[in-house]
Symmetry: C2
């Protein structure tokens, strides 16, 4: 199945490139593009977000209140192998911090030795406040 390059696709991609660290819902993408004069159908937005998530161009999360899905440009985490480290998520700004240090091994080691628990990173999140947001 060969991919065509369409206006919808490139407009959506542009939107994420312009907002590399934001996490946005489908309707926010829709409205954002609308504001720039790019009128897409919501269903088209959904279809493209799905596709881009499959292609790992985007990363899909659940919004805090669980009412919807939100997407983030994956390139803002490029180079990261996100299946082998935990993610810290800032409750305030939504930023994702990748816990790629050796301490990760200690955590996995402790959980396995003392709790018989085998960590797998997919879906794991540690919530809190990041460096910037923690100082208020």
């Amino acid at each position: 199945m060969k991919e065509y390059s369409t206006r919808a696709k490139s407009d959506i991609l542009d939107f994420f490139k312009e907002n590399p660290h934001k996490q946005v819902s489908a309707s926010e993408v829709f409205k954002g593009l609308e504001a720039k004069g790019s009128h897409l159908n919501l269903a088209t937005v959904y279809r493209n977000l799905d596709r881009m998530t499959d292609e790992k161009v985007l990363i899909k999360y659940k919004s805090v209140d669980n009412s919807s899905s939100i997407y983030q440009f994956a390139e803002s985490m490029d180079g990261h192998d996100c299946y082998n480290h935990l993610h810290l998520k800032c409750r305030s700004c939504g930023r994702i911090v990748h816990l790629e240090c050796d301490f990760m091994k200690e955590i996995a080691g402790h959980l396995f030795e003392h709790h018989g628990f085998t960590v797998s990173c997919e879906g794991s999140v540690i919530m809190g406040l990041c460096k910037e947001c923690g100082n208020d």
Copy 2:
């Protein structure tokens, strides 16, 4: 606002007492009660689950696929102060393990010192396989 004790409420509570470690969705509660001959309206189930969550009789989570909310009997974690430790969640059986050991402090300490990140436990989850499910 004084609470009345109604059949709906006690049937739902019974259901959770019979399934203390299960995490179930509103419709699973609905169907489970239906099977036992207790016919409630789905809206009533939702309203009671909400109430019981407010009263902290239940704990509300998001299902793995984010499509719905799931509830668990809080008593199965009684005595735990769940706002001060992380939770390990088994990807296979759904069991929640409370990370109440001192290692928790090390995690929080490391994240703060090395990553400027202030952990807060609410909403944090570390996914993986528990002792029982890990051996297959």
